[in-house]
């Protein structure tokens, strides 16, 4: 396993109009590791995540300064192909958002768009569903509507859909917050499998979850990265007082 940095964030600042939502954020995201982002609501975790795949470009009035280096290349350079970038950095959203089409078509959506041929498609779909630990539950109903799946299954389908485009990095924004404990558990197990092949960044409100699944954790507060460390260290021996207050629930 390579231990280099997949992504390096340098002095990242972001404004929504006058709202300075990210302030001088610096962070290294290691290859094939799970990096968790925690912090109170509204501190900018989702905003930060959207900076990594440039989904903030879609929001009107956003201004970004600083650098996000993906394998050393600044993704905010002028001539960067955003479409190609998003193919390398997949995202799984907070609320499962499968498309209103069949399970098969959902997973095949990305590969089709990126020109994978008909012959290979079956294989890609099967592999992605297997990697997302959903294959056994849906292999006999691939043509069924994705929206008929349970919430947990829908979320794993969204993971399969993201895997199907063979990204290097997958961003998860509170992927379990709409799910029951069993589905949550399945996805946490899945993350451990996925990190063998992918670099993972996950935003979560659940501190136990961050402690359980991640290798590194960053603590955000009011748009600033307060502390970043190995997960074990950050939770057992935080350097900053604010971090300690937050993880012990004394915050506020």
């Amino acid at each position: 396993m390579d231990d280099g940095n997949e992504i390096e964030i340098r002095d990242l600042n972001l404004w929504y109009g006058d709202n300075h939502a990210l302030k001088d954020v610096n962070l290294d995201i290691r290859k094939n590791r799970i990096t968790a982002l925690i912090g109170p609501s509204g501190c900018g975790k989702s905003t930060f995540l959207r900076c990594i795949n440039r989904m903030n470009d879609l929001i009107e009035g956003v201004k970004i300064k600083g650098e996000v280096l993906l394998n050393g290349e600044n993704i905010y350079k002028k001539d960067v192909d955003v479409v190609a970038l998003r193919k390398r950095i997949g995202q799984v959203f907070q609320k499962p958002n499968p498309f209103p089409m069949s399970i098969y078509d959902n997973v095949a959506y990305g590969p089709r768009i990126h020109g994978v041929g008909k012959k290979e498609l079956d294989g890609v779909v099967e592999k992605s569903l297997k990697d997302a630990a959903l294959w056994r539950e849906v292999s006999d109903r691939l043509e069924g509507a994705a929206l008929d799946l349970s919430g947990g299954q829908q979320q794993r389908l969204c993971i399969a859909r993201a895997l199907a485009i063979r990204p290097d990095v997958i961003l998860f924004d509170e992927p379990c917050s709409a799910l029951d404990p069993i589905s949550t558990h399945k996805i946490e197990d899945l993350l451990q499998e996925l990190k063998k092949k992918y670099t993972i960044v996950i935003v979560t409100h659940n501190m136990q979850q961050a402690a359980r699944v991640s290798d590194y954790t960053g603590f955000f507060l009011l748009g600033e990265m307060i502390e970043f460390n190995r997960t074990r260290v950050l939770f057992e021996n935080p350097e900053m007082e604010q971090t300690e207050d937050y993880i012990t629930g004394r915050f506020g």
Partner: protein, 313 residues
């Protein structure tokens, strides 16, 4: 107790009102069919629907030319209005900045509310003349002119319903697609339009209903039986003979000829027709055809809309 009683009272009043409304509708339908039924004691239903000769003086009541002209004018309108309306809706819903959207919405609603006679006058003065001059025809009062005017009239319906259904596609679908590296165009074509399609379709069907039922604008620009050239007179049975197939084969030609829509026929002939006579009854039968067409269209449109809500959630 008192509350309960008052609620019961309100409930029964509302019930009576809604029953009254439905009853009135039912009465209109019964009346329409009742007036029309006399015709079918003399003329068989199939002869009426597919007969190509309409000449009340000779007792000929073939409604097909009217149906045909109505359908042609409507199809022509759709060919113009669907691409224009849907692309306009896509632009407004997906591409235009917020202020442009806010500015166009009231304008489009206003367009939908303009009385149809105004469209007719506009058509008569501008479009009919334009067609006459530019195509060097004997008269500009043609099916084509009717199609153009109808297109203008159904455009606001198609735009606003299509725009609504495109805007009601959940944002999460769009974000999901873009986050996978789809372009805006791919997202539009593969996710947004298919999801919005039932709504767009319902809007189109509603437009078809409006176009088929439109009277005032059409009667002004389509020409009428008084100054109809020979071809059309033939079709209507004054002389010569023609069949349904012949009529259909002449589509390209007829497009540049005057015609008479179902609605125009009723409007123009109701005056001369003797009340209670066969001619009178035949005009009501034309109304029945119109009613059935619009009824089927509106049921279809409602059905499609209700199903779309299920599939999108």
């Amino acid at each position: 107790m008192n509350h309960q009683k008052r609620e019961d009272l309100v409930k029964s009043v509302l019930f009576v009102f809604s029953i009254t409304a439905s009853l009135i509708l039912l009465l209109i339908i019964i009346f329409l069919f009742n007036e029309a039924i006399r015709l079918f004691q003399e003329v068989s239903f199939l002869d009426f629907l597919f007969g190509t000769k309409w000449n009340p003086e000779q007792g000929l009541y073939g409604a097909f030319p009217f149906v045909f002209f109505s359908i042609m004018a409507t199809l022509g309108a759709l060919i113009i209005a669907i691409p224009l309306g849907v692309s306009c809706a896509v632009f407004l819903a997906e591409i235009a900045p917020g202020w442009a959207r806010d500015a166009t919405r009231p304008v489009i609603e206003l367009l939908a509310g303009i009385p149809s006679i105004i469209y007719g006058l506009f058509g008569l003065v501008i479009i009919v003349r334009f067609i006459k001059v530019s195509l060097e025809l004997a008269t500009g009062e043609t099916i084509l002119a009717g199609s153009i005017i109808l297109a203008a009239m159904i455009l606001p319906i198609i735009i606003s319903i299509s725009q609504d259904s495109i805007e009601s596609v959940p944002k999460s679908f769009k974000l999901g697609s873009l986050a996978m590296g789809a372009t805006n165009w791919q997202t539009l074509r593969k996710i947004i339009l298919p999801t919005a399609l039932p709504g767009i379709f319902a809007g189109i069907i509603l437009g078809v209903g409006r176009a088929m039922g439109e009277t005032m604008a059409v009667v002004l620009v389509l020409g009428n039986s008084e100054n109809m050239p020979e071809v059309v007179k033939q079709l209507l049975g004054k002389e010569g003979s023609s069949t349904v197939m012949q009529l259909i084969n002449q589509v390209p030609e007829i497009l540049f000829k005057p015609g008479e829509a179902l609605t125009s026929a009723i409007l123009l002939e109701m005056g001369p027709a003797q009340v209670g006579g066969l001619h009178y009854s035949a005009l009501f039968a034309l109304g029945v055809i119109l009613f059935c067409i619009t009824f089927v269209l509106s049921v279809a449109s409602n059905y499609i809309l209700s199903r779309s809500q299920i599939s999108v959630r």
